[in-house]
Symmetry: C2
């Protein structure tokens, strides 16, 4: 049994929402899905090519106004079927690889000030992401009508992002005071 690229399915998933170009998809992951997903151009374009060959998506060249051209991809019936099957398969367990945890795991090897800096930087990132998430939610609350079937799902994705980041912020706080305590101790 071969591992299957998740990029394939993320592309199919995006196309299930609306037809898009490769460039659009990259933007979409960055602007809408960045909370839980990302893709690179390399992956997107090579996978699109394969998906067209397999008949799961169609490509149509479109010229709007004076702009040169743009290839818009759309899901085929077969494509949405394949997507549906994948969506129903159980979620595969992911391998955890948390670099910060690893670095702190052997924390005694580095100066307390450096550990502290790692934590503070991390904290800052999470705070920024939290702010962005909250903005995204507010935007969606306004723009998407409550009746839209996908609204609750989109919101819940952001909700997970918020809960997890809040938990990590709390942890950063705990770590900060732990390390500051150690620094004070060593100064005495």
């Amino acid at each position: 049994m071969s591992r299957k690229s998740k990029t394939r399915y993320s592309i199919l998933a995006m196309l299930s929402l609306k037809p898009m170009s490769g460039y659009d998809m990259k933007q979409f992951t960055k602007e809408v899905m960045s909370n839980f997903w990302s893709e690179s151009y390399g992956q997107i374009y090579t996978n699109l090519k394969m998906l067209v060959e397999e008949g799961l998506v169609t490509a149509t060249e479109v010229a709007e106004g004076k702009k040169p051209y743009k290839t818009i991809y759309e899901l085929t019936g077969r494509g949405s079927q394949v997507l549906g099957e994948w969506l129903c398969e159980p979620v595969s367990t992911q391998v955890p690889r948390d670099e910060l945890s690893l670095k702190l795991f052997v924390g005694p090897l580095i100066p307390l000030e450096v550990s502290l800096q790692h934590i503070l930087t991390h904290r800052e990132q999470h705070e920024k992401q939290l702010a962005e998430l909250r903005k995204a939610i507010a935007r969606m609350e306004k723009e998407v009508p409550d009746a839209a079937p996908h609204k609750a799902y989109w919101l819940s994705g952001s909700r997970m992002g918020i809960l997890v980041r809040e938990a990590k912020l709390k942890w950063c706080d705990e770590m900060e005071s732990l390390i500051r305590g150690k620094i004070n101790q060593s100064k005495k």
Copy 2:
């Protein structure tokens, strides 16, 4: 600037704690670090070979008792220096890729019962991991003396695992009632 394998550094990090064989390392990631890290034999053995060539670790064949043999690896001075430098570098931001979130993102495409099943399975996994984490912490509390310099760091790693998993459990609960609500609605 080439990306550098994190496996390299995870190996150096483990060896900074104590000399180990390749097999030991695999066990160690599974038993002690599984909360935030994992490695495969393929990566471990090939990286060990490179690290020996680069002079960052030494290999010694050891025969204990009647057992065949075992190659124990140890950090060299250069190795611990390289590790130290990496530890002090800022933590690189990780690419988020959460399959469950992706599947729920396009949730309206699949039956509510399937979404619910995904959530429940996920919930179960987190609960199992939480229980294991708590056991690991209890074990460490007993076995490791409070004075040990690494104790606080090890505990804090587990602490993050716990906080994050609790947050996810909370989210699972929210999702469960959301989906059950939808199921009831559709039955009316």
